[in-house]
């Protein structure tokens, strides 16, 4: 439909399309500088795609862990603009995997859809994920994204039913499968019907299929790798970073902190 004037960098930067690990971090939590360092550490720990969160005042799809991370980041003065500006810094630091900006719809609207995707492109981002724009409301944004070579990541949920096909067929970058009903946050157990759901999604999807929401243990990661092309881990990453926060915030213990973050993540995704 639209004229692809700009080529997409997502596929080029993606290390692999199986057994993917897609961590989420919140821009500015605990500080912008550490966000950059953490992005690099995550890549070093095996991340294939980085989801870079923009903190939002009213994050409807998020559980307490990410809500609190957002609140801390807003407190620190983080904005969507500053979050985007972190990306070139990450690139400079050596982050070469695809970076997907995660932001709610309202900041996108205030920024301007076209301005946003242009800025993303300019700042070497690869994708955009807006959790509160379902397929039916995404057309305009998708057109802008496509026009500027930014992959608009779609989400699909266990109750999407007959919409699975429609969503999967138009998905770009990777397809984000919500593991179970509910918001982001750790879950003790996974939905028992997850395998048949993922099978159905994979059937229709032409892009890699990753599972997110609630994945927080190595067992869960291993299980998901059986059914999907990768896992998205958010709240658990935030928790790991929170646990190392005091070390990370001090110049002299930062490297140790980052090392321990890496260790924990390696344990989490190891298989």
């Amino acid at each position: 439909m639209t004229n692809h004037t700009v080529t997409s960098t997502f596929a080029q930067r993606l290390p692999k399309t199986e057994n993917m690990f897609i961590p989420f971090i919140m821009s500015g939590d605990p500080t912008p500088e550490l966000t950059i360092e953490l992005a690099y550490t995550l890549q070093e720990s095996g991340a294939d795609v980085l989801e870079l969160g923009v903190p939002y005042s009213d994050p409807l799809a998020d559980g307490p862990t990410i809500q609190q991370a957002a609140a801390r980041a807003i407190e620190q003065g983080m904005t969507i603009q500053k979050a985007i500006q972190l990306i070139p810094e990450m690139r400079k630091r050596g982050v070469h995997i695809p970076i997907v900006l995660f932001t709610y719809c309202n900041p996108v609207l205030q920024y301007g859809m076209e301005t946003l995707v242009k800025e993303l492109k300019k700042n070497e981002a690869d994708g955009l994920l807006v959790p509160d724009i379902p397929l039916e409301e995404s057309e305009e944004l998708k057109q802008h994204a496509e026009a500027h070579g930014i992959q608009l990541i779609s989400l699909v949920a266990p109750n999407s039913e007959e919409r699975i096909k429609r969503i999967a067929e138009q998905a770009s970058g990777f397809l984000y499968c919500v593991s179970s009903l509910g918001v982001t946050g750790e879950r003790a157990e996974m939905d028992p019907n997850i395998s048949s759901f993922l099978e159905k999604v994979k059937h229709y999807s032409s892009v890699p299929v990753a599972v997110g929401f609630g994945i927080s243990t190595n067992d869960q990661v291993q299980l998901m790798h059986n059914y999907s092309d990768g896992v998205i881990v958010g709240s658990k990453i935030i928790k790991i970073i929170e646990g190392e926060q005091s070390a990370l915030l001090k110049e002299d213990t930062r490297d140790e902190g980052l090392k321990r973050v890496k260790e924990q993540i390696t344990q989490l995704i190891n298989y």
Binding site: D58, D132, L155, N159, S160, G182
Partner: protein
């Protein structure tokens, strides 16, 4: 023309829609499907009307405010008495409608958000009456401020769930209710309290509230013949206003919605969403809202808890943009003065929310001709606000 909104996507012009996480699309579609079917089922309509009448106390009275009219010397003032509803406000109409729908859908539990507690009480009430479980999400700050309403909900058998996220008020209670619903949409029904939220809520709530305007039309015609010149209603989320206005759209009656100007729209402390807000998305709907330059939703302020909301129903955004309704704003001080005036001239203590409509009507009635007529929607009674009013007037010292 206006009456064909919302469109298939739930849009009122540029506003409305469904800006929700994917997981909510299915429950919203389920509601839409059941609702469409229910509204075509005479039995459902009859059951709704039966509860409104035998339980809620409808039709509510239509009062000629003879003393207020005479004291102002302008337009003849009529009052639509939603304060006479069971539980004290128009909120019940919608709660009954949605709870009946929830039952029809086979849901056994309802959840609701509440600020001051009015919608929470209405929800707890219909849940009790219809034998449903009820969870009410309420900001921790509001729980502290509204101890009696919290107890009332518990007495009615509802569980009140304290919300500690964000600013711990209505906006966050709504967020939390939505988050909870996402995880429990299989057996829970989310009973939203105003014409806000994703499609089909704004349309549904309007349809359950339009009984206000429908009755008013008949009652006015019975008493005076024809139509009034102007109608006034306060606007928080906008359900009492849209319920009143909807049947009068396109009839030539001048419709006036009144927002809360709090400490003044030049100050940062107000809740005048249409007057001072900008388009954006809140609680799943494209509408006007109070936000900063980056799209972070800002805290509104109004002395009246029911108007203290940073958004507004998308249909109002549309009616504003299409100039079908005029929106004004009234400060805390003006509203409180109007409470005193209506109490003393008519023996009716309105809710602080409703007093905003009264205040604007008083301003305008004075300048109108005695042959003209206006209707004020008294959306609720002031009982719930007595401590706030008392504090404002410093006991009764400030009353005279």
């Amino acid at each position: 023309m206006s009456v064909t909104y919302p469109d298939a996507k739930g849009r009122f012009g540029d506003f409305g829609g469904k800006f929700v996480p994917e997981t909510l699309m299915a429950p919203l579609q389920e509601i839409e499907a059941y609702l469409t079917e229910a509204l075509q089922d005479e039995e459902f309509i009859a059951a709704f009307q039966h509860e409104l009448k035998t339980y809620g106390g409808r039709p509510t009275a239509f009062t000629y405010a003879n003393q207020l009219t005479e004291s102002l010397g302008g337009a003849q003032i009529y009052l639509k008495r939603e304060d006479l509803n069971h539980t004290g406000a128009h909120k019940l109409n919608n709660a009954i409608g949605q709870a009946l729908l929830a039952k029809r859908m086979g849901k056994t539990k309802i959840i609701a958000e509440t600020g001051a507690g009015q919608h929470g009480v209405a929800s707890a009430t219909v849940a009790a009456k219809l034998g449903l479980e009820c969870k009410v999400f309420m900001g921790e700050k509001d729980i502290e401020r509204q101890e009696l309403n919290v107890f009332r909900m518990k007495l009615l058998g509802a569980e009140v769930i304290p919300v500690s996220s964000g600013s711990k008020t209505l906006k966050d209670a709504t967020n939390e209710a939505i988050r909870h619903w996402v995880a429990h949409c299989d057996d829970e029904y989310y009973l939203i309290g105003s014409v806000v939220g994703p499609h089909p809520y704004p349309e549904m709530v309007r349809n359950f509230q339009r009984v206000i305007g429908d009755e008013t039309k008949t009652q006015f015609d019975d008493v005076k013949g024809g139509l009034p010149n102007r109608i006034y209603a306060c606007v928080g989320g906008g359900s009492n206003a849209i319920g009143m206005f909807y049947p009068f759209l396109g009839t030539g009656v001048e419709l006036v919605g009144i927002e809360a100007a709090g400490r003044g729209i030049q100050s940062p402390e107000h809740a005048a969403t249409l007057t001072k807000g900008t388009p954006g998305i809140i609680h799943g709907s494209m509408t006007y809202l109070l936000q900063d330059e980056f799209g972070q939703i800002t805290e509104p302020y109004s002395i009246s808890a029911g108007l203290d909301y940073p958004g507004i129903g998308p249909e109002h955004a549309y009616l504003h943009a299409s100039k079908q309704v005029r929106y004004e704003s009234i400060t805390d001080d003006e509203a409180l003065e109007a409470i005193k005036t209506l109490s003393r001239t008519e023996g009716i203590i309105p809710a602080i929310e409703s007093a905003h409509a009264v205040a604007q009507a008083i301003k305008e009635a004075e300048t109108m001709d005695p042959s003209e007529t206006i209707v004020i929607n008294v959306s609720g009674r002031g009982d719930k606000d007595m401590s706030t009013i008392m504090e404002y007037f410093e006991g009764s010292d400030g009353l005279d």
